[in-house]
């Protein structure tokens, strides 16, 4: 009955994954996006949905990258890349920025990760390698303060190791901080009862997800508690925190 013989390329592409995350960001939300893959989410919002982006280096109402040649080195995002400001933006200093973050005023942050555990522990800042230069930035403040922490990640590492694990082996960014995990294969909610799969990418089966995950999973897709739905009919039971 295993479907693991399906091609490993099944699942969402990076841009599909970004759209899948964006779908769960409600209208009017304030969102902070981490560096890298999370940045794709900004360009993937459904038509007509207004979301406000905060960047911790001091801008609420961050807009897209400027056209080439119009970059301003004093208007950048947390990844130090040039951005723009929308009409209705506001600039502020770092203490005020982390008042927003630590004070619970940001609805959602979307972060990349190295590992995430069954209890929502996040490890995304250091390999723990003694030769590495430790650098944490604002990640620990974000996971401690933002209302919902979404992780966006490949389900497994390039070498096939699970990134979703029973317990993180890398140094933690925060304990029990992740609300939901979006991978190329599935969407998983972090619950007090462990990880619950609420959505599968087209062509992906629960078996495949389970095989590539380092901890137990519950099948929480609508109408399913353990059994597989017919391929392609996975319903999307997750509507964000609207």
């Amino acid at each position: 009955m295993s479907e693991s013989s399906k091609p490993a390329t099944a699942g969402w592409t990076k841009s599909e994954l970004a759209r899948r995350v964006a779908q769960d960001i409600p209208d009017g939300a304030c969102v902070n996006l981490g560096i890298g893959m999370p940045e794709l989410v900004a360009h993937s919002l459904p038509e007509g949905r207004e979301v406000i982006f905060q960047t911790e280096n001091g801008l609420l109402g961050m807009g897209p990258a400027p056209p080439e040649g119009q970059e301003d080195p004093e208007l950048i995002n947390a990844g130090k890349k040039p951005v723009t400001a929308i009409p209705g933006a506001a600039y502020f200093h770092h203490a005020d920025s982390f008042t927003m973050i630590r004070g619970g005023h940001i609805d959602i942050c979307v972060l990349g990760t190295m590992q995430v555990s069954a209890t929502g522990d996040l490890a995304n800042w250091s390999t723990g390698d003694p030769g590495a230069i430790p650098a944490v930035g604002g990640a620990m403040d974000l996971v401690a303060g933002v209302k919902s922490v979404f992780v966006i990640t490949q389900h497994a590492t390039k070498t096939g190791e699970p990134k979703i694990v029973e317990s993180c082996t890398y140094p933690l960014t925060g304990k029990g901080v992740v609300s939901r995990i979006y991978t190329n294969l599935a969407v998983l909610d972090v619950t007090t009862g462990g990880l619950v799969v609420t959505d599968l990418a087209p062509g992906v089966t629960m078996e495949e997800v389970r095989e590539k995950t380092g901890t137990e999973l519950t099948d929480g897709r609508q109408g399913n508690t353990a059994a597989e739905p017919p391929a392609g009919t996975a319903t999307r039971g997750v509507g964000g925190n609207k």
Partner: protein, 236 residues
């Protein structure tokens, strides 16, 4: 489209529940959101804990809310002033509680509440009667008090101008507690003289970024508390 403008003050305060903690901006009448307070009097929520620097004057605004028996407890730094009649009377009669907090500690507690800081240390009031019952700790040989961050269910604030996102600018010394109260309340309700288009406020000059504001009410010509007091008015 994000638009935080409520139809009127009555609608904006309609979900303030009995027993709520409500921060009310203003230093004396400057920055006091008098129309929002009067709407709260009409609304009638009771057993409120009110955090505000003063206790109002005459029988309008905050004093009217207190006179109407809606306030169980005041948290403030200076509950008496020239025309403050209502609070002293109820306080002496044992009908209202008071938590007296030094003004800077009050401001910092509100700011901490809004910033996710549960507690901090301050030198203010160390060694005084207001330190009684408080935890103290020495840093570099000086004594400090531990004070807790303060949060509220609602804040009622007055600002000068807003856009639909809730970005705010204030007017002169009417700014006072408004910006920090917006950060410390689950629901910050702000009355403004003017609402402008998104982009109508210079992003370098925004004092309260819209993320801290949940509802706006436009009151183009707010009443002046001292004028009402002078005229001997009371509310309702």
């Amino acid at each position: 489209m994000i638009d935080k403008l409520a139809a009127n003050a009555a609608e904006a305060v309609s979900d303030i529940h009995d027993g709520a903690t409500v921060m009310i901006g203003g230093f004396g009448e400057a920055g006091s959101p008098i129309e929002l307070i009067h709407a709260l009097v009409d609304h009638g929520a009771r057993e409120l804990t009110v955090v505000s620097n003063n206790t109002g004057s005459g029988r309008v605004g905050l004093a009217a809310l207190i006179a109407n028996g809606q306030v169980r407890k005041m948290v403030c730094s200076y509950p008496r002033s020239a025309n403050s009649l209502v609070f002293p009377e109820l306080f002496r009669a044992g009908k209202i509680e008071l938590e007296l907090v030094p003004q800077g500690t009050l401001a910092e507690r509100i700011r901490a509440g809004g910033a996710g800081i549960p507690a901090f240390y301050t030198p203010a009031a160390a060694g005084t009667r207001l330190a009684e019952g408080k935890e103290t700790r020495a840093f570099n040989g000086q004594e400090y008090l531990m004070e807790y961050g303060l949060r509220a269910d609602f804040a009622l604030v007055r600002a000068e101008r807003a856009d639909r996102y809730g970005n705010l600018v204030y007017n002169k010394t009417a700014r006072n507690f408004g910006p920090i109260m917006c950060t410390a309340a689950e629901t910050a309700i702000v009355q403004v003289r003017e609402v402008v288009e998104a982009g109508g406020i210079d992003p370098e000059c925004v004092v309260t970024p819209g993320i801290f504001v949940e509802r706006l009410v436009q009151v183009p010509e707010p009443a002046q508390e001292s004028e009402l007091v002078k005229e001997g008015r009371s509310y309702p």
